[in-house]
């Protein structure tokens, strides 16, 4: 069996190779991320059955559990790494055609490193190691946001960087407090001791860590960087930021709250926060006229929904949360990719400039529509089972408070439906003035979009394909003792 560490190391090594290859041939360097993501995809799929039967703990260096850094490859980790590899693969295909200007070799290197950082965050079992990989993820996304070097891009990158650096600083302070309290950095080792620790210092450490990670996870009110960054980045990067980066941040928050701290008392607060994030995101998106900003705010809303679902902390709702995460990654990536070429062709990010795109680029517009339908949660697309699972999980509890929150969530969904369908109307049914010539996106970009379309429909119709992974992921989060036992032996 292959070692899961290859999921991180091989793409990392390839990323280091990209500049060297780029010196020889720039055209060739473009394909390295594709190869790396494909490799990760294959390895993740290969690891999947083994991981589902028993999580793999990888000891890096071979010094024994709390002493060396370890990777914990459980269902959650493998789910995320699959998702990262998949989204990364699709987006790197898209970027082959889309990224045609500027320092392309650097783009592909940084893109690959971003994915490595994300994979590292989700697989690691060590708090500080998580911080390190988190920084890889963040720093490469700062750069990629500014990749175009235009006014908006640099401005939003600077803002993103300041907020991200502030978050990282808080995170590091929190890790320092944790180390001071427990004298260890291994998640499982901390988790064992967390129960018996002094509650106040533990809470302060947790607050620092959750706030620090929450900046990347775009929890309200820490998400002010997101609309700027997602809207000014190149669309391929927006897709990855929206589809992967914030989800990974969310993963980190969830892992900390659930596994490391076991803070079940925080969950109801997180639930409220999730609903608040959802409503703020959807309301702001509703008032947007810039398509990418709208999509960015919608990501905030979706993250809120995922937080809400996971914070309910029943097996059903966490499964729903993870399902929503999967469907959000696929759909939002698709939306950004499709919007990317529509913006590229029309030359403006204003929604009204997309009029008539349904005729000028029908396939791209179709892909956009599928993404929007799925995100709104309409059958038979992937967003439907996830919404179903979340609401089923929330209502199964039967509490009046949860029912109220579900009502608010549904309200948010209605708002989301309204603004997405407004865009669909604009794209398909408004007669654009002037240009009517066909200008379809290039073939390779269409291939990448239609891979996502196919996945969205297949998952929407056969949710049982992934439900097994999601269920074990939910139980991994819920059963802390398993995690601890597996790592510490």
């Amino acid at each position: 069996m292959v070692s899961p560490v290859l999921l991180i190391v091989i793409p990392l090594g390839l990323a280091f190779c990209v500049p060297l290859i780029g010196m020889v041939s720039k055209r060739f360097a473009r394909f390295v991320p594709v190869v790396a993501c494909l490799f990760n995809l294959v390895v993740s799929v290969q690891l999947l059955p083994a991981v589902l039967s028993k999580p793999i703990v990888v000891d890096l260096g071979g010094f024994g559990a709390p002493f060396s850094i370890n990777l914990f490859v459980g269902p959650v980790g493998i789910l995320f790494s699959l998702l990262i590899a998949l989204a990364g693969f699709v987006v790197s295909l898209y970027a082959l055609a889309y990224i045609d200007k500027g320092p392309t070799t650097r783009y592909h290197t940084l893109y690959l490193l971003l994915l490595v950082g994300a994979t590292g965050v989700v697989l690691t079992g060590d708090v500080f190691n998580l911080f390190v990989f988190f920084e890889i993820l963040c720093i490469s996304s700062y750069v990629l946001v500014a990749y175009r070097g235009d006014k908006d891009g640099v401005e939003s990158a600077v803002k993103y960087l300041i907020q991200g650096a502030l978050g990282s600083a808080l995170l590091l302070t929190g890790i320092g407090l944790l180390y001071g309290l427990f004298g260890t950095l291994n998640m499982a080792h901390i988790a064992v001791q967390a129960g018996s620790a002094d509650p106040i210092p533990l809470f302060v450490a947790m607050a620092l860590i959750v706030v620090g990670l929450g900046v990347e996870a775009a929890i309200f009110p820490l998400n002010a960087w997101l609309p700027d960054a997602h809207s000014s980045a190149p669309s391929s990067i927006s897709a990855i930021l929206s589809g992967i980066a914030i989800e990974v941040g969310l993963y980190a928050v969830v892992r900390m709250v659930f596994t490391v701290f076991g803070a079940s008392s925080m969950l109801s607060f997180l639930m409220f926060l999730g609903v608040l994030t959802l409503l703020v995101g959807e309301l702001c998106a509703f008032a947007q006229s810039n398509i990418k900003r709208m999509l960015a705010y919608s990501s905030i809303g979706q993250i809120g929904l995922i937080i809400f679902a996971i914070a309910i902390a029943t097996s059903g709702s966490i499964t729903g949360g993870f399902f929503q995460l999967v469907s959000h990654t696929l759909s939002k990536a698709l939306l950004f990719l499709a919007a990317g070429y529509m913006i590229y062709r029309s030359g403006s990010m204003d929604i009204s400039s997309l009029e008539g795109m349904g005729k000028r680029m029908p396939l791209t517009a179709f892909a956009f529509a599928v993404g929007a339908f799925s995100l709104v949660g309409l059958p038979p697309f992937a967003g439907f089972p996830s919404k179903l699972l979340i609401i089923r999980g929330a209502l199964a509890d039967g509490g009046a408070l949860l029912a109220l929150l579900v009502g608010l969530v549904l309200l948010g969904t209605v708002i989301e439906g309204a603004y997405f369908f407004r865009v669909i109307q604009t794209v398909f049914f408004k007669k654009g003035d002037g240009e009517t010539a066909r200008c379809e996106a290039p073939a390779i970009a269409l291939v990448s979009m239609f891979v996502l379309v196919a996945l969205i429909i297949v998952i929407g119709v056969y949710p049982s394909l992934i439900i097994g992974v999601l269920n074990s992921a939910a139980s991994e989060l819920l059963v802390r003792a398993d995690y601890i036992g597996r790592v510490l032996g």
């Binding site: 260096g61 002493f67 750069v143």
Partner: protein, 229 residues
């Protein structure tokens, strides 16, 4: 008004952290992991500098991530500044005074040597790849300051960067296949403690790191200097 609000907020945060610090008394050993490192660090890795054995041994994976971050920063700096640069157009700054130039020419090899010394002896004395790399970068900084026209070859610095990082990755992979089947396991003989050629893969990695960090930081300075406004 704003300042007052900020002060109030920071005061709350300070109180919170202060309360938390009550549980972390200063100067008292509280660690379980650190004790193990100091006690068996030499046995496990063969480095007499325990910090080095932690950085490149126990927590080598962190270090791999760390050099990646530096790589990202150097790469990204180039990407960010590339947008504003027109090739072949450099500022013609009058060269620095003769004294400065001569002094730099004299100091430059010495600094390089010093940096190399630091990272080669990382497992024995304080210092290591990062410190050594920084010293090397400051050597280049001196050159840049004294002779603004001179530049390090992009190809070479890029190659050093990539190869240094690749060495790290590949060494880890070798460890995965031969030594104990752990990624980054110390598969080379530890040798005699406190000798230069000891501590298994640590010196090798530190040399790679030193070169890589040196060229990374040089690249960063280079990028900043080269930016034409």
């Amino acid at each position: 008004m704003r300042s007052i609000a900020i002060i109030i907020l920071l005061a709350i945060v300070a109180v919170g952290i202060g309360v938390a610090l009550m549980a972390i008394p200063f100067g008292v050993a509280k660690t379980q992991v650190g004790d193990h490192y100091t006690e068996s660090g030499i046995g496990d890795t063969g480095a007499s500098n325990i910090v080095t054995s932690v950085v490149v041994g126990y927590r080598a994976f962190d270090t791999l991530g760390e050099i990646t971050i530096l790589f990202v920063a150097a790469m990204g700096l180039g990407a960010v500044l590339a947008g504003g640069r027109k090739l072949g157009q450099r500022r013609d700054v009058e060269p620095a005074s003769l004294i400065l130039r001569t002094g730099c020419r004299f100091l430059f090899p010495l600094l390089l040597l010093f940096g190399a010394y630091i990272f080669i002896h990382g497992h024995l004395t304080p210092g290591g790849g990062f410190q050594g790399g920084a010293v090397i970068a400051s050597a280049f900084l001196l050159v840049y300051l004294s002779c603004p026209g001179r530049r390090v070859s992009k190809v070479w610095s890029q190659t050093t960067e990539s190869l240094g990082a690749l060495t790290f990755v590949v060494l880890g992979l070798v460890g995965l296949t031969v030594g104990g089947h752990y990624y980054l396991s110390s598969f080379m003989p530890h040798g005699v403690v406190n000798e230069l050629f000891s501590a298994g893969i640590i010196p090798v990695i530190y040399v790679a790191i030193g070169l890589k960090v040196g060229s990374d930081l040089t690249g960063i300075i280079d990028g900043m200097m080269e930016e034409t406004i």
